[in-house]
Amino acid sequence: MELREGLLYSKSHEWVKEEDGVAIIGLTDFAQSELGDLVFVNLPEEGDEVTVGEAFADVESVKAVSDVYSPVSGTVSEVNEELLDAPESINEAPYDAWFVKVTDITDKEELLTAEEYQAFVESEQE
Protein backbone atom coordinates (compact mmCIF):
# COMPACT_ATOMS: atom_id res chain seq x y z
CA MET A 1 0.00 0.00 0.00
CA GLU A 2 1.39 3.32 -1.08
CA LEU A 3 1.05 6.38 1.14
CA ARG A 4 2.05 9.93 0.51
CA GLU A 5 3.59 12.06 3.22
CA GLY A 6 1.99 15.43 3.76
CA LEU A 7 -1.52 14.18 3.08
CA LEU A 8 -4.16 13.47 5.71
CA TYR A 9 -6.36 10.40 5.59
CA SER A 10 -9.92 9.53 6.62
CA LYS A 11 -11.12 6.23 8.04
CA SER A 12 -13.41 5.87 5.02
CA HIS A 13 -10.26 5.84 2.84
CA GLU A 14 -10.14 9.30 1.31
CA TRP A 15 -7.05 11.48 1.29
CA VAL A 16 -7.10 15.23 1.91
CA LYS A 17 -4.55 17.86 1.04
CA GLU A 18 -5.07 21.22 2.65
CA GLU A 19 -3.63 24.34 1.09
CA ASP A 20 -4.65 27.87 2.03
CA GLY A 21 -8.15 26.96 3.12
CA VAL A 22 -8.74 24.67 0.14
CA ALA A 23 -9.18 20.92 0.71
CA ILE A 24 -8.27 18.65 -2.21
CA ILE A 25 -9.91 15.24 -1.85
CA GLY A 26 -9.20 11.88 -3.49
CA LEU A 27 -9.29 8.12 -2.86
CA THR A 28 -6.39 6.31 -1.18
CA ASP A 29 -4.28 3.65 -2.80
CA PHE A 30 -5.75 1.12 -0.38
CA ALA A 31 -9.29 2.07 -1.45
CA GLN A 32 -8.55 1.77 -5.16
CA SER A 33 -6.89 -1.64 -4.71
CA GLU A 34 -9.87 -2.92 -2.69
CA LEU A 35 -12.36 -1.61 -5.24
CA GLY A 36 -10.52 -3.06 -8.22
CA ASP A 37 -10.45 -1.60 -11.71
CA LEU A 38 -12.70 1.44 -11.79
CA VAL A 39 -14.80 2.00 -14.87
CA PHE A 40 -17.00 4.96 -13.98
CA VAL A 41 -16.95 8.01 -11.70
CA ASN A 42 -19.81 10.24 -10.67
CA LEU A 43 -18.74 13.67 -9.42
CA PRO A 44 -20.61 16.58 -7.84
CA GLU A 45 -20.88 19.92 -9.58
CA GLU A 46 -19.08 23.13 -8.85
CA GLY A 47 -20.97 25.03 -6.17
CA ASP A 48 -22.44 21.90 -4.54
CA GLU A 49 -22.33 21.70 -0.76
CA VAL A 50 -20.56 18.71 0.77
CA THR A 51 -20.98 17.51 4.35
CA VAL A 52 -18.65 15.58 6.65
CA GLY A 53 -19.38 11.85 6.49
CA GLU A 54 -21.81 12.12 3.60
CA ALA A 55 -21.29 10.77 0.11
CA PHE A 56 -20.29 13.37 -2.47
CA ALA A 57 -19.26 11.09 -5.33
CA ASP A 58 -19.41 7.46 -6.35
CA VAL A 59 -17.08 5.15 -8.16
CA GLU A 60 -18.00 2.03 -10.07
CA SER A 61 -15.98 -1.11 -10.65
CA VAL A 62 -17.22 -4.12 -12.62
CA LYS A 63 -18.30 -5.55 -9.27
CA ALA A 64 -20.15 -2.72 -7.58
CA VAL A 65 -20.81 0.97 -7.09
CA SER A 66 -19.28 2.52 -3.96
CA ASP A 67 -19.83 5.88 -2.33
CA VAL A 68 -16.99 8.31 -1.69
CA TYR A 69 -17.46 10.23 1.56
CA SER A 70 -16.46 13.77 2.26
CA PRO A 71 -14.04 14.31 5.14
CA VAL A 72 -14.95 18.02 5.24
CA SER A 73 -17.99 20.27 5.02
CA GLY A 74 -17.85 23.11 2.55
CA THR A 75 -18.47 24.17 -1.03
CA VAL A 76 -17.09 22.47 -4.12
CA SER A 77 -14.95 25.05 -5.92
CA GLU A 78 -13.46 22.81 -8.59
CA VAL A 79 -14.13 19.35 -10.01
CA ASN A 80 -11.55 17.16 -11.74
CA GLU A 81 -13.54 16.49 -14.88
CA GLU A 82 -10.65 14.57 -16.44
CA LEU A 83 -11.60 11.66 -14.19
CA LEU A 84 -14.92 11.29 -15.98
CA ASP A 85 -13.19 10.14 -19.14
CA ALA A 86 -10.33 8.37 -17.41
CA PRO A 87 -11.50 6.61 -14.24
CA GLU A 88 -8.48 4.30 -14.61
CA SER A 89 -6.25 7.18 -13.47
CA ILE A 90 -7.61 6.60 -9.93
CA ASN A 91 -6.16 3.08 -10.08
CA GLU A 92 -2.93 4.19 -11.71
CA ALA A 93 -2.08 7.25 -9.62
CA PRO A 94 -4.54 7.59 -6.74
CA TYR A 95 -2.75 10.50 -5.11
CA ASP A 96 -2.70 12.57 -8.31
CA ALA A 97 -6.26 11.71 -9.33
CA TRP A 98 -8.03 14.24 -7.12
CA PHE A 99 -11.83 14.37 -7.18
CA VAL A 100 -12.77 17.83 -5.94
CA LYS A 101 -11.45 20.96 -4.32
CA VAL A 102 -13.54 22.26 -1.43
CA THR A 103 -13.51 25.81 -0.05
CA ASP A 104 -15.43 27.68 2.71
CA ILE A 105 -14.69 24.77 5.02
CA THR A 106 -16.96 24.84 8.05
CA ASP A 107 -16.35 21.39 9.51
CA LYS A 108 -13.76 18.66 9.31
CA GLU A 109 -13.55 15.14 10.66
CA GLU A 110 -10.58 13.99 12.68
CA LEU A 111 -8.05 13.02 10.05
CA LEU A 112 -5.12 10.64 10.32
CA THR A 113 -1.48 11.10 9.38
CA ALA A 114 0.12 8.63 6.95
CA GLU A 115 1.49 6.55 9.85
CA GLU A 116 -1.81 6.56 11.71
CA TYR A 117 -3.71 5.61 8.56
CA GLN A 118 -1.33 2.75 7.86
CA ALA A 119 -1.86 1.43 11.40
CA PHE A 120 -5.63 1.83 10.96
CA VAL A 121 -5.69 -0.15 7.71
CA GLU A 122 -3.54 -2.88 9.22
CA SER A 123 -5.82 -3.19 12.23
CA GLU A 124 -8.84 -3.40 9.90
CA GLN A 125 -7.19 -6.20 7.93
CA GLU A 126 -6.88 -8.46 10.95
Binding site: D37, F40, E60, K63, A64, P87
Partner: protein, 475 residues
Protein backbone atom coordinates in the same frame (compact mmCIF):
# COMPACT_ATOMS: atom_id res chain seq x y z
CA UNK B 1 -19.65 -13.85 -36.52
CA UNK B 2 -22.55 -11.43 -36.59
CA UNK B 3 -25.54 -11.93 -38.83
CA UNK B 4 -24.55 -8.72 -40.65
CA UNK B 5 -21.17 -10.15 -41.52
CA UNK B 6 -22.77 -13.22 -43.05
CA UNK B 7 -25.02 -11.07 -45.21
CA UNK B 8 -24.56 -11.09 -49.01
CA UNK B 9 -26.49 -8.77 -51.34
CA UNK B 10 -29.43 -10.40 -53.05
CA UNK B 11 -29.80 -13.39 -50.75
CA UNK B 12 -33.00 -13.75 -48.82
CA UNK B 13 -35.65 -16.03 -47.54
CA UNK B 14 -38.64 -13.85 -46.87
CA UNK B 15 -41.94 -15.51 -47.42
CA UNK B 16 -44.24 -12.72 -46.47
CA UNK B 17 -47.89 -13.28 -47.27
CA UNK B 18 -49.27 -11.30 -50.20
CA UNK B 19 -50.24 -7.79 -49.18
CA UNK B 20 -54.04 -7.61 -48.99
CA UNK B 21 -54.36 -3.89 -48.44
CA UNK B 22 -53.60 -0.99 -50.72
CA UNK B 23 -49.89 -0.20 -50.86
CA UNK B 24 -49.11 3.34 -49.77
CA UNK B 25 -45.59 4.67 -50.28
CA UNK B 26 -44.25 7.56 -48.21
CA UNK B 27 -43.80 10.94 -49.83
CA UNK B 28 -40.41 11.63 -51.41
CA UNK B 29 -39.38 13.96 -48.57
CA UNK B 30 -40.20 11.31 -45.96
CA UNK B 31 -38.12 8.59 -47.56
CA UNK B 32 -35.17 7.33 -45.54
CA UNK B 33 -31.75 8.67 -46.40
CA UNK B 34 -29.59 6.02 -44.80
CA UNK B 35 -29.42 2.44 -46.02
CA UNK B 36 -31.60 0.09 -43.97
CA UNK B 37 -28.85 -2.50 -43.39
CA UNK B 38 -31.11 -5.52 -43.20
CA UNK B 39 -29.03 -8.71 -43.24
CA UNK B 40 -29.54 -10.77 -46.39
CA UNK B 41 -29.25 -14.51 -45.78
CA UNK B 42 -30.82 -17.67 -47.13
CA UNK B 43 -33.06 -19.63 -44.82
CA UNK B 44 -30.52 -22.38 -44.07
CA UNK B 45 -27.82 -19.82 -43.29
CA UNK B 46 -30.17 -17.99 -40.97
CA UNK B 47 -31.27 -21.20 -39.28
CA UNK B 48 -27.64 -22.24 -38.74
CA UNK B 49 -26.78 -18.81 -37.43
CA UNK B 50 -29.32 -18.98 -34.64
CA UNK B 51 -28.58 -22.62 -33.85
CA UNK B 52 -24.92 -21.66 -33.53
CA UNK B 53 -25.82 -18.80 -31.16
CA UNK B 54 -28.03 -21.14 -29.12
CA UNK B 55 -25.16 -23.62 -28.78
CA UNK B 56 -22.93 -20.87 -27.45
CA UNK B 57 -25.35 -19.89 -24.73
CA UNK B 58 -26.39 -21.50 -21.48
CA UNK B 59 -29.99 -21.56 -20.35
CA UNK B 60 -32.24 -23.57 -18.07
CA UNK B 61 -32.62 -26.06 -20.92
CA UNK B 62 -28.86 -26.68 -20.95
CA UNK B 63 -28.08 -27.27 -17.32
CA UNK B 64 -28.08 -26.14 -13.73
CA UNK B 65 -28.64 -22.38 -13.39
CA UNK B 66 -28.50 -21.42 -9.69
CA UNK B 67 -28.55 -17.63 -10.14
CA UNK B 68 -29.59 -16.36 -6.72
CA UNK B 69 -32.39 -13.81 -6.34
CA UNK B 70 -33.25 -14.38 -9.99
CA UNK B 71 -35.18 -17.63 -9.65
CA UNK B 72 -34.14 -19.13 -12.95
CA UNK B 73 -36.65 -21.92 -12.72
CA UNK B 74 -37.47 -24.35 -15.44
CA UNK B 75 -40.21 -23.17 -17.83
CA UNK B 76 -42.66 -26.04 -18.38
CA UNK B 77 -43.38 -26.67 -22.06
CA UNK B 78 -47.12 -26.75 -21.50
CA UNK B 79 -46.89 -22.99 -20.82
CA UNK B 80 -45.65 -22.53 -24.39
CA UNK B 81 -48.44 -24.72 -25.79
CA UNK B 82 -51.06 -22.58 -24.09
CA UNK B 83 -49.44 -19.28 -25.09
CA UNK B 84 -49.38 -20.48 -28.72
CA UNK B 85 -53.13 -21.08 -28.91
CA UNK B 86 -54.52 -19.03 -31.79
CA UNK B 87 -57.20 -17.50 -29.54
CA UNK B 88 -54.37 -15.77 -27.69
CA UNK B 89 -51.99 -15.06 -30.55
CA UNK B 90 -54.32 -13.99 -33.31
CA UNK B 91 -55.76 -11.02 -31.52
CA UNK B 92 -55.00 -7.34 -31.82
CA UNK B 93 -54.77 -4.91 -28.90
CA UNK B 94 -57.11 -2.50 -30.69
CA UNK B 95 -59.86 -5.09 -31.06
CA UNK B 96 -63.11 -4.15 -29.27
CA UNK B 97 -63.15 -5.56 -25.74
CA UNK B 98 -66.25 -7.68 -26.31
CA UNK B 99 -64.40 -9.69 -28.98
CA UNK B 100 -61.49 -10.64 -26.68
CA UNK B 101 -63.36 -11.64 -23.56
CA UNK B 102 -61.41 -14.89 -23.34
CA UNK B 103 -58.15 -12.99 -23.01
CA UNK B 104 -59.71 -10.68 -20.42
CA UNK B 105 -60.87 -13.71 -18.48
CA UNK B 106 -57.30 -15.01 -18.41
CA UNK B 107 -56.19 -11.75 -16.82
CA UNK B 108 -59.09 -11.74 -14.39
CA UNK B 109 -58.47 -15.31 -13.28
CA UNK B 110 -54.72 -14.78 -12.95
CA UNK B 111 -55.37 -11.64 -10.93
CA UNK B 112 -57.62 -13.57 -8.57
CA UNK B 113 -55.09 -16.37 -8.06
CA UNK B 114 -52.18 -14.02 -7.55
CA UNK B 115 -54.16 -11.84 -5.16
CA UNK B 116 -54.99 -14.95 -3.17
CA UNK B 117 -51.33 -16.01 -3.06
CA UNK B 118 -50.11 -12.55 -2.04
CA UNK B 119 -52.98 -11.28 0.11
CA UNK B 120 -53.63 -8.28 -2.12
CA UNK B 121 -56.99 -6.92 -3.28
CA UNK B 122 -56.26 -5.84 -6.85
CA UNK B 123 -53.54 -6.19 -9.42
CA UNK B 124 -52.36 -4.62 -12.67
CA UNK B 125 -50.47 -6.58 -15.30
CA UNK B 126 -49.11 -3.54 -17.10
CA UNK B 127 -45.55 -3.36 -15.71
CA UNK B 128 -43.16 -5.08 -18.08
CA UNK B 129 -40.82 -6.41 -15.41
CA UNK B 130 -39.73 -6.03 -11.79
CA UNK B 131 -38.16 -2.57 -11.81
CA UNK B 132 -41.10 -1.23 -13.80
CA UNK B 133 -43.33 -2.76 -11.13
CA UNK B 134 -41.34 -1.03 -8.38
CA UNK B 135 -41.74 2.30 -10.14
CA UNK B 136 -45.48 1.70 -10.53
CA UNK B 137 -45.84 0.72 -6.87
CA UNK B 138 -43.99 3.83 -5.71
CA UNK B 139 -46.20 6.05 -7.85
CA UNK B 140 -49.18 4.46 -6.08
CA UNK B 141 -47.63 5.30 -2.71
CA UNK B 142 -46.99 8.84 -3.89
CA UNK B 143 -50.54 9.25 -5.19
CA UNK B 144 -51.87 7.96 -1.86
CA UNK B 145 -50.00 10.53 0.22
CA UNK B 146 -50.79 13.34 -2.19
CA UNK B 147 -54.47 12.50 -2.21
CA UNK B 148 -54.44 13.05 1.55
CA UNK B 149 -52.73 16.39 1.16
CA UNK B 150 -49.66 14.92 2.86
CA UNK B 151 -46.82 16.64 1.02
CA UNK B 152 -44.05 16.31 3.62
CA UNK B 153 -43.20 12.67 2.84
CA UNK B 154 -40.17 12.80 0.60
CA UNK B 155 -38.18 9.74 1.65
CA UNK B 156 -38.25 6.01 1.06
CA UNK B 157 -36.44 3.63 3.43
CA UNK B 158 -34.40 0.89 1.75
CA UNK B 159 -32.22 -1.61 3.67
CA UNK B 160 -28.61 -1.90 2.49
CA UNK B 161 -29.20 -5.52 1.44
CA UNK B 162 -31.82 -4.49 -1.14
CA UNK B 163 -31.66 -5.04 -4.86
CA UNK B 164 -30.11 -2.01 -6.56
CA UNK B 165 -33.34 -1.42 -8.44
CA UNK B 166 -35.12 -0.42 -5.19
CA UNK B 167 -33.24 2.83 -4.52
CA UNK B 168 -33.11 3.51 -8.27
CA UNK B 169 -36.90 3.21 -8.58
CA UNK B 170 -37.40 5.41 -5.53
CA UNK B 171 -35.27 8.14 -7.08
CA UNK B 172 -37.10 7.76 -10.40
CA UNK B 173 -40.35 8.32 -8.53
CA UNK B 174 -38.97 11.56 -7.09
CA UNK B 175 -38.05 10.34 -3.62
CA UNK B 176 -34.79 10.51 -1.77
CA UNK B 177 -33.50 7.26 -0.32
CA UNK B 178 -32.70 6.53 3.31
CA UNK B 179 -30.47 3.46 3.43
CA UNK B 180 -30.52 1.55 6.71
CA UNK B 181 -27.77 -0.93 7.58
CA UNK B 182 -28.67 -4.56 8.25
CA UNK B 183 -28.04 -6.09 11.66
CA UNK B 184 -25.45 -8.79 12.38
CA UNK B 185 -28.08 -11.40 11.53
CA UNK B 186 -28.59 -10.01 8.02
CA UNK B 187 -32.09 -8.75 8.86
CA UNK B 188 -33.48 -5.24 9.31
CA UNK B 189 -32.02 -3.50 12.36
CA UNK B 190 -35.15 -2.43 14.24
CA UNK B 191 -33.39 0.31 16.20
CA UNK B 192 -32.01 1.85 13.01
CA UNK B 193 -35.45 1.61 11.42
CA UNK B 194 -37.11 3.31 14.40
CA UNK B 195 -34.50 6.04 14.28
CA UNK B 196 -35.43 7.06 10.72
CA UNK B 197 -39.19 6.43 10.90
CA UNK B 198 -40.85 9.84 10.94
CA UNK B 199 -43.40 12.01 9.22
CA UNK B 200 -41.08 12.55 6.23
CA UNK B 201 -41.17 8.83 5.35
CA UNK B 202 -43.39 7.87 2.42
CA UNK B 203 -42.67 4.19 2.73
CA UNK B 204 -40.33 1.24 3.06
CA UNK B 205 -39.21 -1.13 0.31
CA UNK B 206 -38.37 -4.62 1.49
CA UNK B 207 -37.63 -8.03 0.07
CA UNK B 208 -38.68 -10.90 2.33
CA UNK B 209 -37.08 -13.40 2.44
CA UNK B 210 -34.28 -10.91 2.03
CA UNK B 211 -31.34 -11.05 -0.34
CA UNK B 212 -29.23 -13.11 2.05
CA UNK B 213 -31.89 -15.81 1.88
CA UNK B 214 -33.36 -15.27 5.34
CA UNK B 215 -36.96 -14.65 6.36
CA UNK B 216 -37.03 -11.54 8.52
CA UNK B 217 -38.37 -12.77 11.85
CA UNK B 218 -39.41 -9.25 12.86
CA UNK B 219 -41.45 -8.63 9.75
CA UNK B 220 -44.68 -7.71 11.57
CA UNK B 221 -42.84 -5.27 13.80
CA UNK B 222 -41.10 -3.75 10.78
CA UNK B 223 -44.32 -3.07 8.90
CA UNK B 224 -45.88 -1.80 12.14
CA UNK B 225 -43.10 0.72 12.68
CA UNK B 226 -43.51 2.04 9.13
CA UNK B 227 -47.30 2.21 9.39
CA UNK B 228 -46.88 3.87 12.77
CA UNK B 229 -45.09 6.82 11.21
CA UNK B 230 -47.67 7.08 8.45
CA UNK B 231 -45.68 5.34 5.73
CA UNK B 232 -46.68 2.48 3.47
CA UNK B 233 -44.88 -0.84 2.97
CA UNK B 234 -43.72 -2.05 -0.43
CA UNK B 235 -42.90 -5.74 -0.98
CA UNK B 236 -40.33 -6.61 -3.60
CA UNK B 237 -41.49 -9.99 -4.88
CA UNK B 238 -38.06 -11.12 -6.05
CA UNK B 239 -37.93 -13.85 -3.44
CA UNK B 240 -41.56 -14.91 -3.35
CA UNK B 241 -40.47 -18.34 -4.59
CA UNK B 242 -39.53 -19.25 -1.03
CA UNK B 243 -42.93 -18.62 0.51
CA UNK B 244 -45.73 -18.80 -2.06
CA UNK B 245 -48.78 -20.51 -0.64
CA UNK B 246 -47.26 -20.53 2.84
CA UNK B 247 -47.18 -16.91 3.96
CA UNK B 248 -48.65 -13.87 2.22
CA UNK B 249 -47.05 -10.42 1.90
CA UNK B 250 -50.50 -8.95 2.57
CA UNK B 251 -50.57 -10.70 5.96
CA UNK B 252 -47.03 -9.51 6.73
CA UNK B 253 -48.37 -5.96 6.57
CA UNK B 254 -47.42 -4.95 3.04
CA UNK B 255 -49.70 -2.54 1.17
CA UNK B 256 -48.29 -2.86 -2.32
CA UNK B 257 -46.16 -5.49 -4.03
CA UNK B 258 -44.73 -6.47 -7.34
CA UNK B 259 -44.30 -10.00 -8.56
CA UNK B 260 -41.99 -11.27 -11.25
CA UNK B 261 -43.93 -13.72 -13.36
CA UNK B 262 -40.61 -14.49 -15.08
CA UNK B 263 -39.13 -15.60 -11.78
CA UNK B 264 -41.73 -17.11 -9.52
CA UNK B 265 -44.31 -18.18 -12.07
CA UNK B 266 -42.10 -20.00 -14.56
CA UNK B 267 -42.31 -17.72 -17.57
CA UNK B 268 -39.15 -17.21 -19.65
CA UNK B 269 -36.49 -15.13 -17.97
CA UNK B 270 -33.39 -13.60 -19.45
CA UNK B 271 -32.46 -13.54 -23.10
CA UNK B 272 -35.23 -11.11 -23.83
CA UNK B 273 -38.08 -12.55 -21.78
CA UNK B 274 -40.23 -10.61 -22.11
CA UNK B 275 -40.86 -10.23 -18.41
CA UNK B 276 -43.94 -9.28 -16.50
CA UNK B 277 -44.01 -7.46 -13.19
CA UNK B 278 -47.61 -7.23 -12.03
CA UNK B 279 -48.30 -4.85 -9.15
CA UNK B 280 -50.81 -5.77 -6.49
CA UNK B 281 -52.16 -3.52 -3.77
CA UNK B 282 -54.56 -3.35 -0.88
CA UNK B 283 -57.91 -1.63 -1.15
CA UNK B 284 -56.50 1.71 0.12
CA UNK B 285 -54.43 2.07 -3.08
CA UNK B 286 -56.82 0.58 -5.62
CA UNK B 287 -58.22 3.89 -6.84
CA UNK B 288 -54.72 4.91 -7.98
CA UNK B 289 -53.99 1.82 -10.10
CA UNK B 290 -53.79 2.04 -13.89
CA UNK B 291 -56.96 0.80 -15.60
CA UNK B 292 -58.32 -2.22 -13.78
CA UNK B 293 -60.49 -5.06 -15.00
CA UNK B 294 -64.06 -4.55 -14.01
CA UNK B 295 -66.84 -7.07 -14.35
CA UNK B 296 -69.83 -5.58 -16.11
CA UNK B 297 -73.21 -7.22 -16.52
CA UNK B 298 -72.10 -9.29 -19.49
CA UNK B 299 -68.54 -8.37 -20.30
CA UNK B 300 -65.24 -7.61 -18.64
CA UNK B 301 -63.71 -4.26 -19.44
CA UNK B 302 -60.81 -2.09 -18.35
CA UNK B 303 -61.84 1.00 -16.45
CA UNK B 304 -59.57 3.84 -15.38
CA UNK B 305 -60.56 5.49 -12.14
CA UNK B 306 -60.56 9.23 -11.67
CA UNK B 307 -57.52 9.18 -9.40
CA UNK B 308 -55.47 6.68 -11.40
CA UNK B 309 -51.75 7.33 -11.82
CA UNK B 310 -52.41 6.61 -15.51
CA UNK B 311 -51.31 3.79 -17.76
CA UNK B 312 -47.82 2.40 -17.19
CA UNK B 313 -47.58 0.58 -20.50
CA UNK B 314 -49.51 0.56 -23.72
CA UNK B 315 -52.45 -1.84 -23.83
CA UNK B 316 -52.33 -4.82 -21.46
CA UNK B 317 -48.67 -5.41 -20.57
CA UNK B 318 -46.98 -8.57 -21.84
CA UNK B 319 -50.18 -10.54 -22.12
CA UNK B 320 -48.80 -13.88 -23.37
CA UNK B 321 -46.56 -14.02 -20.31
CA UNK B 322 -49.71 -13.85 -18.20
CA UNK B 323 -51.11 -16.81 -20.16
CA UNK B 324 -47.99 -18.81 -19.28
CA UNK B 325 -48.22 -17.86 -15.60
CA UNK B 326 -51.88 -18.87 -15.44
CA UNK B 327 -50.98 -22.20 -17.04
CA UNK B 328 -48.36 -22.71 -14.34
CA UNK B 329 -50.81 -21.80 -11.57
CA UNK B 330 -53.42 -24.18 -12.92
CA UNK B 331 -50.89 -26.97 -13.49
CA UNK B 332 -49.63 -26.80 -9.91
CA UNK B 333 -52.90 -25.96 -8.24
CA UNK B 334 -53.59 -25.21 -4.60
CA UNK B 335 -51.44 -28.11 -3.36
CA UNK B 336 -48.63 -27.73 -5.89
CA UNK B 337 -47.88 -24.05 -5.32
CA UNK B 338 -46.79 -24.32 -1.66
CA UNK B 339 -45.08 -27.62 -2.44
CA UNK B 340 -42.94 -25.91 -5.09
CA UNK B 341 -41.78 -23.35 -2.53
CA UNK B 342 -41.08 -26.03 0.06
CA UNK B 343 -38.93 -27.93 -2.41
CA UNK B 344 -37.07 -24.74 -3.35
CA UNK B 345 -36.25 -24.21 0.33
CA UNK B 346 -35.33 -27.87 0.83
CA UNK B 347 -32.99 -27.87 -2.18
CA UNK B 348 -31.20 -24.73 -1.00
CA UNK B 349 -30.72 -26.11 2.51
CA UNK B 350 -29.52 -29.44 1.11
CA UNK B 351 -26.82 -27.76 -0.97
CA UNK B 352 -25.85 -25.39 1.82
CA UNK B 353 -25.40 -28.21 4.33
CA UNK B 354 -23.36 -30.28 1.87
CA UNK B 355 -21.00 -27.35 1.27
CA UNK B 356 -20.65 -25.59 4.59
CA UNK B 357 -17.76 -27.72 5.87
CA UNK B 358 -15.64 -26.25 3.02
CA UNK B 359 -17.20 -22.93 2.07
CA UNK B 360 -17.91 -20.22 4.64
CA UNK B 361 -21.62 -19.42 4.81
CA UNK B 362 -22.34 -15.73 5.33
CA UNK B 363 -25.16 -16.67 7.71
CA UNK B 364 -24.91 -20.19 9.03
CA UNK B 365 -28.52 -20.96 9.79
CA UNK B 366 -31.51 -22.53 8.09
CA UNK B 367 -31.96 -20.61 4.86
CA UNK B 368 -34.94 -20.05 2.62
CA UNK B 369 -34.74 -20.64 -1.15
CA UNK B 370 -31.16 -19.37 -1.51
CA UNK B 371 -27.99 -19.10 0.52
CA UNK B 372 -24.98 -16.80 0.45
CA UNK B 373 -21.38 -17.88 0.81
CA UNK B 374 -18.48 -15.54 1.48
CA UNK B 375 -15.28 -16.51 -0.27
CA UNK B 376 -13.33 -13.90 1.61
CA UNK B 377 -11.28 -16.48 3.56
CA UNK B 378 -10.54 -18.54 0.46
CA UNK B 379 -9.38 -15.42 -1.35
CA UNK B 380 -7.05 -14.45 1.48
CA UNK B 381 -5.68 -17.99 1.67
CA UNK B 382 -5.31 -18.83 -2.01
CA UNK B 383 -5.95 -15.67 -4.04
CA UNK B 384 -8.93 -17.38 -5.66
CA UNK B 385 -11.92 -15.03 -5.69
CA UNK B 386 -15.66 -15.54 -6.00
CA UNK B 387 -15.22 -14.51 -9.63
CA UNK B 388 -12.67 -17.30 -10.22
CA UNK B 389 -14.93 -19.96 -8.70
CA UNK B 390 -17.83 -18.66 -10.80
CA UNK B 391 -15.71 -18.91 -13.94
CA UNK B 392 -14.62 -22.42 -12.91
CA UNK B 393 -18.27 -23.46 -12.73
CA UNK B 394 -18.66 -22.51 -16.40
CA UNK B 395 -16.04 -25.10 -17.32
CA UNK B 396 -18.25 -27.66 -15.60
CA UNK B 397 -21.44 -26.81 -17.48
CA UNK B 398 -23.00 -24.89 -14.60
CA UNK B 399 -24.18 -21.29 -14.83
CA UNK B 400 -22.50 -19.25 -12.08
CA UNK B 401 -24.53 -18.16 -9.09
CA UNK B 402 -25.05 -14.46 -8.44
CA UNK B 403 -21.70 -12.85 -7.67
CA UNK B 404 -20.73 -9.92 -5.46
CA UNK B 405 -24.31 -9.44 -4.32
CA UNK B 406 -25.67 -8.68 -1.78
CA UNK B 407 -23.14 -5.92 -1.25
CA UNK B 408 -23.08 -6.46 2.51
CA UNK B 409 -21.28 -9.80 2.05
CA UNK B 410 -17.65 -9.70 0.95
CA UNK B 411 -16.75 -11.98 -2.02
CA UNK B 412 -20.34 -13.20 -2.16
CA UNK B 413 -21.73 -16.09 -4.14
CA UNK B 414 -25.49 -16.45 -3.85
CA UNK B 415 -26.87 -19.84 -4.82
CA UNK B 416 -30.53 -20.52 -5.63
CA UNK B 417 -31.02 -24.07 -6.90
CA UNK B 418 -34.85 -23.80 -7.39
CA UNK B 419 -37.38 -26.53 -6.78
CA UNK B 420 -37.25 -28.41 -10.06
CA UNK B 421 -33.68 -29.70 -9.74
CA UNK B 422 -33.33 -33.37 -8.88
CA UNK B 423 -31.18 -34.71 -6.07
CA UNK B 424 -28.76 -36.05 -8.72
CA UNK B 425 -28.32 -32.59 -10.25
CA UNK B 426 -27.76 -31.06 -6.83
CA UNK B 427 -25.23 -33.77 -5.90
CA UNK B 428 -23.32 -33.18 -9.12
CA UNK B 429 -23.25 -29.44 -8.53
CA UNK B 430 -22.11 -29.96 -4.93
CA UNK B 431 -19.28 -32.16 -6.18
CA UNK B 432 -18.25 -29.49 -8.70
CA UNK B 433 -18.19 -26.82 -5.97
CA UNK B 434 -16.09 -29.10 -3.77
CA UNK B 435 -13.68 -29.91 -6.60
CA UNK B 436 -13.23 -26.22 -7.35
CA UNK B 437 -12.40 -25.55 -3.71
CA UNK B 438 -9.72 -28.22 -3.86
CA UNK B 439 -8.39 -26.74 -7.10
CA UNK B 440 -8.22 -23.32 -5.44
CA UNK B 441 -5.99 -24.77 -2.75
CA UNK B 442 -3.77 -26.81 -5.07
CA UNK B 443 -3.66 -25.04 -8.42
CA UNK B 444 -5.01 -21.54 -7.99
CA UNK B 445 -3.44 -20.38 -11.26
CA UNK B 446 -5.67 -22.61 -13.39
CA UNK B 447 -8.76 -21.05 -11.82
CA UNK B 448 -7.55 -17.54 -12.59
CA UNK B 449 -7.55 -18.61 -16.25
CA UNK B 450 -10.99 -20.25 -16.22
CA UNK B 451 -13.12 -20.78 -18.22
CA UNK B 452 -11.14 -22.55 -20.91
CA UNK B 453 -13.75 -24.91 -22.42
CA UNK B 454 -16.44 -22.34 -23.26
CA UNK B 455 -16.92 -20.71 -26.71
CA UNK B 456 -15.42 -17.51 -25.30
CA UNK B 457 -12.93 -17.66 -22.46
CA UNK B 458 -12.25 -15.08 -19.71
CA UNK B 459 -13.66 -11.79 -20.90
CA UNK B 460 -12.05 -8.41 -20.35
CA UNK B 461 -14.92 -6.95 -18.32
CA UNK B 462 -12.93 -3.87 -17.37
CA UNK B 463 -12.05 -3.15 -20.98
CA UNK B 464 -15.67 -3.63 -22.01
CA UNK B 465 -16.88 -1.23 -19.31
CA UNK B 466 -14.24 1.41 -20.01
CA UNK B 467 -14.48 1.28 -23.78
CA UNK B 468 -17.93 -0.02 -24.58
CA UNK B 469 -18.76 -0.75 -28.21
CA UNK B 470 -22.49 -0.26 -28.19
CA UNK B 471 -23.41 -0.79 -31.80
CA UNK B 472 -22.18 -2.48 -34.90
CA UNK B 473 -20.32 -0.16 -37.24
CA UNK B 474 -21.47 -0.65 -40.81
CA UNK B 475 -18.65 -0.07 -43.23
Amino acid sequence: MLVFEKSRPGRGCSMLPACDVEIVLPKEKDKRELALHMPELSENELSRHYTELAKKSHGVNDGFYPLGSCTMKYNPKINEDMAALPGFTEVHPLQPAHTVQGCMEVMKETEEYLCEITGMDHMTFQPAAGAHGEFTGLLLIKAYHESRGDKKRTKIIVPDSAHGTNPASAVMAGYSVVSIPSGEDGCVDLEKLRAVAGDDIAGLMLTNPNTVGLFDKNILEITNIVHGCGGLCYYDGANLNAVMGTVRPGDMGFDVIHLNLHKTFSTPHGGGGPGSGPVGCKECLTEFLPSVLVEGEETLSFVKSEHSIGEMKSFYGNFLVVVRALTYLKTLGREGIPKASQNAVLNANYMMNKLKDLYTMAYDEVCMHEFVMSLSDLKKKTGVSAMDIAKGLLDNGIHPPTMYFPLIVDEALMVEPTETESRETLDEAIQVFRNLYEMAEKEAESLHAAPVTTPVTRLDEVGAARHPVLRYQFS
